[in-house]
C-alpha cells in the first residue's frame, strides 16, 4: 500500500511566490523517506500541505488512500507531525501539551496520561514533565515535539528537520529511535533534512527538491551509485603555477599553490590519477577526499536546476 501519493501539487503563496511547481511523490508504506533540499526549496510547504497546515493551490494528496480533499479526518488521524519550528504552548507544563494533543486525537484522558508517561520517558523528558515548554533547552523542545507527534501512534511520522540544533549524541539516539519505530512498528517515516549524512544513514528512499521541483527521486543506494564522481584534495611537494590537464580528470588549483583539487569520474581509479600526475613530474604528498559523494552530487544537481523557469 502507498502511504503517501502526491500528484501535481502546486502551491503559490501570495505575491506570486511559487513554493511548489507541481510535484509528484510516492512513498510506500513502511518506508523511511528523506526529502532533501536547500533552504527555500519547498520542503516545509509540502509537509504543511500534507498535514493540513497549509492550503494547497492545486493537485492531489492521498494518505494511506484517503484523499485530503474528501477524507481529511482520516488523513489527519494517520499522521504525526514534528514541525520545523517550535509550536507548543510555552507556558503550559509539557505533560499537558502531550495529553492535550492526545485528547484532540480522541484519546480519553486516562489513556492519554499513560501514553504521555511512556513517550516522555522514552524521549528522556519525564523529569521535566511539570516544566513549562519554554523552560526546555532547544534539543529538549525538539524531543517534546517528537513525543507529541507519537502520542496517538500514527501510521506515518513526518519530521521537518528533526535534528536541527541537536547535539551529536542526541542526534545519534534520535536516529536510533526513529529507526526502531520504523522497523519495529512499521511506521512510515518521512523526514526533511539539509544533512546528507542523515539521509544516507537513515533513509531507504530519497527525493531531492529544489525551487519547488523534484529533481531526483529514488533509492538512496541507487542515487549514491549515480553520484558519478569523487573530488580529492592533493597536497603537492612543489608549487604549481597552473592546473595541469590530465584527461579524463578535471583539476583545479586551490588558493594554496601546492594544493590541487581533482575530480575522479566514476570508473576511474585514484592510482591512475596519481600516475598521470607523476608523468607530469608532479609529486603527491598526501591526499584526502574533499566531500561526501552524495553531497557533491547534490550540489551539482542543484547547480543544474538553478535557472528554473518561473
Amino acid at each position: 500500500m502507498t502511504a503517501l501519493e502526491i500528484q501535481n501539487l502546486v502551491k503559490v503563496y501570495d505575491k506570486d511566490t511559487y513554493a511548489l511547481r507541481g510535484i509528484d511523490l510516492t512513498v510506500a508504506e513502511g518506508d523511511f523517506f528523506a526529502l532533501l533540499g536547500p533552504n527555500g526549496a519547498g520542503k516545509s510547504t509540502a509537509i504543511g500541505i500534507i498535514s493540513s497546515l497549509v492550503n494547497k493551490t492545486s493537485g492531489s494528496v492521498k494518505v494511506f488512500g484517503h484523499d485530503l480533499d474528501t477524507d481529511v479526518v482520516a488523513t489527519k488521524a494517520s499522521i504525526g507531525l514534528v514541525p520545523q519550528e517550535f509550536n507548543f504552548n510555552g507556558f503550559e507544563p509539557i505533560i499537558n501539551t502531550i495529553t492535550n494533543v492526545a485528547g484532540y486525537n480522541g484519546i480519553p484522558f486516562s489513556v492519554a496520561k499513560k501514553r504521555a508517561e511512556h513517550y516522555l520517558k522514552r524521549l528522556d523528558l519525564w523529569d521535566k514533565r511539570n516544566a513549562a515548554g519554554r523552560e526546555l533547552s532547544g534539543g529538549m523542545k525538539r524531543r517534546l515535539m517528537i513525543a507529541r507527534a507519537l502520542v496517538h501512534e500514527p501510521k506515518m511520522l513526518i519530521l521537518d528537520e528533526p535534528t536541527a540544533g541537536v547535539d551529536i549524541e542526541i542526534r545519534r539516539s534520535m536516529w536510533d529511535y526513529l529507526s526502531e519505530i520504523n522497523s519495529q512498528n512499521g511506521t512510515t517515516i518521512i523526514l526533511t533534512t539539509h544533512y546528507l549524512e542523515e539521509a544516507e544513514a537513515l533513509c531507504r528512499n530519497v527525493a531531492i527538491i529544489d525551487h519547488g521541483q523534484i529533481i531526483e527521486n529514488g533509492a538512496v543506494t541507487k542515487l549514491l551509485s549515480q553520484a558519478m564522481q569523487e573530488t580529492f584534495v592533493l597536497n603537492l611537494y612543489s608549487d604549481l603555477t597552473e592546473a595541469p590537464s590530465i584527461k579524463p580528470f578535471t583539476t583545479r588549483l586551490r588558493d594554496d599553490a601546492n594544493q590541487l583539487e581533482v575530480d575522479v569520474p566514476k570508473g576511474e581509479s585514484v592510482t591512475s590519477m596519481i600516475d598521470a600526475l607523476k608523468n607530469r613530474g608532479i609529486q603527491v604528498g598526501s591526499i584526502r577526499t574533499k566531500s561526501n559523494r552524495l553531497e557533491a552530487f547534490f550540489l551539482r544537481l542543484i547547480g543544474k536546476n538553478d535557472g528554473a523557469a518561473p
Binding site: 509550536n87 492535550n100 485528547g103 484532540y104 480522541g106
Partner: protein, 258 residues
C-alpha cells in the same frame, strides 16, 4: 475510532485547557471585573444612587446591579476568547489543533464554551459582590440564566472573529475599547431608556446590548424596557450571524492557514 466519540473527547480537552488557562491566571481574568463591579456599586449605586429617586419602581442600586453583572459577562466572554485564541495563533499551537482530526465545529464549540465558562465565573463573582449591596433574588431564574448564557455565547463568537483577524495584541483591544465599551455603557446599564429624549430612545433601539441588558434585568427584577421575546430574538439572530461568520473563517483558514 468513532467520529462522534473522537469529537466529544477533543471538545472536552479544549474546554479543560481553556478553563485551566483562565483559572491559572485568575488575577488577570477574574479579579478585575469583580473590582470594577465593586467600584460601580460603591460609587454609582451607593454614593450617587442614594440621591437618585427610584427607577421603574426599584432603588437605583437594585436597578443597576443586573447591568453591572451583564457588563462583566460580556467583557469577560469576549476577552477570554479573543485573547486565548489570538495567543494560540501567535504561539502557533493552533497547529496542534489543525493537524489533529478535530472538526472546526468542535474547535469553535470548545473555545465558545471556554468563553461562556469565564463569563459564568465572572458573573457569579460579581453576583456575590452584589449580595453585599442588595438582597435581591432573581424573579425569573431560568430566563436569567438563558439570557446570560446566550449573551455569553454571542460575545464569545465575536471574540473569536476578532482573534482570527487580529495580527497584533493591539488589534485585540480595538473592538472591546471602541465598540463594545460604548455600546455597553449606552446599553441601559445605568438608566432606563424611558428617561431619554425621544430621539435617543429610538437610536438606543439599534444598540443590541440594550436587548441583552434588559432581558437580563427582566430575569432578575421582572421589569424591562424591551419585550422579552425581542431580547431573545435579537440575541439569537446575532448568534446565528456571528456563528456563520466564525465557521466560514475557520473553514477557510483565514488568518490561520497560509
Amino acid at each position: 475510532m468513532n467520529y462522534w466519540r473522537l469529537q466529544w473527547i477533543a471538545y472536552c480537552t479544549i474546554v479543560r485547557k481553556e478553563v485551566r488557562r483562565f483559572t491559572r491566571i485568575w488575577v488577570q481574568t477574574i479579579t478585575p471585573p469583580a473590582v470594577n463591579a465593586l467600584l460601580y456599586m460603591l460609587i454609582f449605586g451607593g454614593l450617587i444612587g442614594s440621591r437618585i429617586r427610584e427607577v421603574d419602581g426599584f432603588a437605583y442600586m437594585d436597578f443597576l446591579i443586573p447591568g453591572i453583572i451583564m457588563m462583566g459577562i460580556i467583557t469577560s466572554s469576549y476577552g477570554n476568547v479573543v485573547s486565548s485564541f489570538f495567543g494560540t495563533k501567535l504561539q502557533k499551537h493552533i497547529e496542534e489543533l489543525l493537524v489533529s482530526p478535530v472538526s472546526n465545529t468542535t474547535i469553535l464549540a470548545g473555545y465558545i464554551t471556554g468563553g461562556v465558562a469565564r463569563g459564568a465565573a465572572v458573573g457569579m463573582i460579581v453576583s456575590l459582590v452584589a449580595m453585599f449591596f442588595t438582597d435581591l433574588r432573581p424573579v425569573h431564574p431560568v430566563t436569567t440564566i438563558f439570557i446570560a448564557v446566550l449573551t455569553s455565547i454571542m460575545f464569545s463568537l465575536g471574540g473569536l472573529i476578532n482573534a482570527v483577524y487580529a495580527q497584533t495584541f493591539d488589534e485585540c483591544s480595538i473592538v472591546p475599547n471602541f465598540v463594545l465599551a460604548p455600546l455597553t455603557y449606552l446599553g441601559g446599564i445605568f438608566y432606563s431608556i424611558s428617561m431619554l429624549p425621544p430621539l435617543a430612545q429610538k437610536l438606543s433601539l439599534f444598540n443590541p446590548v440594550l436587548y441583552m441588558i434588559n432581558g437580563f434585568r427582566y430575569g432578575i427584577l421582572g421589569i424591562s424596557d424591551i419585550p422579552l421575546w425581542q431580547s431573545f430574538a435579537v440575541i439569537m439572530v446575532f448568534i446565528v450571524i456571528l456563528g456563520t461568520i466564525a465557521m466560514t473563517l475557520l473553514n477557510r483558514g483565514v488568518g490561520i492557514k497560509p
